[in-house]
Amino acid sequence: MIGFLEIRRRKLQFALVGLIVTLISYLVLMINGLGVGLNEQAGRALRNFDADAIAYSDRAGLSVIRSELSAETVERIEAESGARESAPLGYMAVNYTRNDGKVKSAAVLGYDPGTIGEPPVTEGRPLTPADADGLLADRQFLRASGLKVGDTVRLAIRLQEREFTIVGELNEGAFFFQPSVYMLRSTWQEMKYGTNAPGTPVASVVLLKGDGLAGKRGAGWEAVSKSTAFANIEGVSGQQSTVQALQVFGYLIGGLVIGVFFYVLTLQKTPQIGVLKAVGATTGFIFRQLLVQALLVALGGVAIAVPLAWLTNEGIKQVPDPVPIAFTTGTFVTTSALLLLMAVLGVLFSGRQVAKVDPIIALGQQQ
């Protein structure tokens, strides 16, 4: 095609704009990866819960940190919600000391073995009701701490410190921006409240399984869907809107750069467009050449940016405290598709310009 030949003959111009498109695509991909990564940090573990809805104390404002449930409320939730299955779950943040001496925090989730609150173990073994000092640790926790299944770790909350043996590995992800570890709910209660005496809160939330549970409420509790629960994690909505704003800017700038380049190119080529029209080319034909060029340039840019972003992420993963970037095939596909779409939109500007060129100018020009 003429458009393709022009790219071949004007390599430098097209390579330059291709380079800019590559850099923008790379930036947009990294932002999108960061968006996914931050979301995973915020609560992949929550999204992995084997539940349809999550019940909170109705005074907690859907905050896992502030939600505390008494034994009576947990029973009421289980009775009143109409859930097929349910499981109380306790949450607290603890500190631990890493091999390198740094003090870090981890999210502790206390559950009861045999309920839907139990996470699947990927290595080692699950906890039994007798494992009061046993711990299941997420991969991310193990990588960050340098520990492995069979090691011991001291977890601290307030003035208490307790040693646990890691018996199994999980792939549940982070909870509340911290790597997650799971222990028995009774151990959680002892650590968090210092006692198992009657009247002590027994859980932070209750996982529920069944139909039509989201939105249900009763005396002292309310239940919401997992996605509502996720969106209500402190910081998530602000973080999501920041990432979305960055994404939108990235796409707009990508579209604009392509658009402006092709607009300038079109203006520059006005005499040649006049000649093409004079020999009988329609506006549509000429515009299609531009479209093919824009798509090729965008495709080239994306084709370089995608592996580059992937490699960057592989590199980042190697450091002990990686920037939370995560790529899914979906991220690559949607980002690429949107960038291509923006290239097409950018070129639409030039369509009007092409239509405006009068073939008569072919008569007047000297080469």
Partner: protein, 231 residues
């Protein structure tokens, strides 16, 4: 092919009011199939303007241009583009080629625009380049060609889609007279052999004399119909 052109009361006024230029003022003539007509006249007499209207590049202010009975002065948009690429081969005074394409690619553009079969188009392009003595320059970029070579490529391009109407605006400007004569002869052969119509603007009387008929323009009007010696 047997094309008939009938131009009646053709007028073109550029601009409006004070600055209006009456470039063509009431031109009428008709042609027979297979005719090769030369148009002569002083600079600014309206030759290019008239050719552009016949070629569908310029809308007449008044008058009709019938090509095989159809008034092309009324065509617009896509229909006009189609008329230009299927019926007309136009050789511009400034022989505009696409600079980033080779001689051969400039010809193949015509097939692309027309959606014609590429294999046949390649054969036709090579044949035209051969006939016009450009075989050796086939793969040279338009910017690498000399003025005369560009002119010949422009002529070949005009013939690519096998148009019935071959319109040529001062083709010999950058051709030396021996080469120019040869080029005009091949144009005449193309027109005669296929019952096409050739209209060629020229200021070179030697070239004009090669035509069947000479139309002379003066101040936007035809002043005389001369039948050349050649007949």
């Amino acid at each position: 092919m047997s094309i008939r052109l009938k131009v009646e009361n053709l007028e073109k006024i550029y601009g409006e009011g004070e600055r209006a230029v009456h470039a063509v003022r009431g031109v009428s003539f008709a042609t027979e199939p297979g005719e090769f007509v030369a148009i002569v006249g002083p600079s600014g007499s309206g030759k290019t303007t008239m050719l552009a209207m016949i070629g569908g590049l310029l809308t007449p202010t008044r008058g009709t241009i019938e090509v095989n009975g159809r008034d092309i002065a009324r065509l617009r948009g896509k229909e006009l583009a189609e008329y230009r690429r299927q019926k007309v081969g136009f050789v511009f005074q400034a022989n505009n080629l696409l600079p980033y394409l080779t001689a051969r690619e400039n010809l193949l553009v015509m097939a692309r625009i027309n959606g014609s079969d590429l294999k046949a188009a390649r054969a036709r392009a090579d044949q035209l380049l051969e006939e016009l003595g450009l075989a050796a320059r086939r793969d040279a970029l338009a910017t690498e060609l000399s003025g005369g070579e560009r002119q010949r490529v422009a002529i070949a391009r005009a013939l690519m889609n096998d148009p019935e109407l071959v319109l040529v605006d001062e083709p010999t400007a950058s051709l030396d007279s021996a080469r120019g004569k040869q080029v005009v002869e091949s144009l005449i052969a193309e027109v005669k052999g296929r019952d096409k119509l050739g209209l060629m603007v020229t200021h070179d009387m030697a070239m004009a004399e090669m035509a069947d008929r000479v139309l002379e323009m003066h101040d936007g009007q035809l002043v005389a119909h001369t039948v050349a010696a050649r007949g």
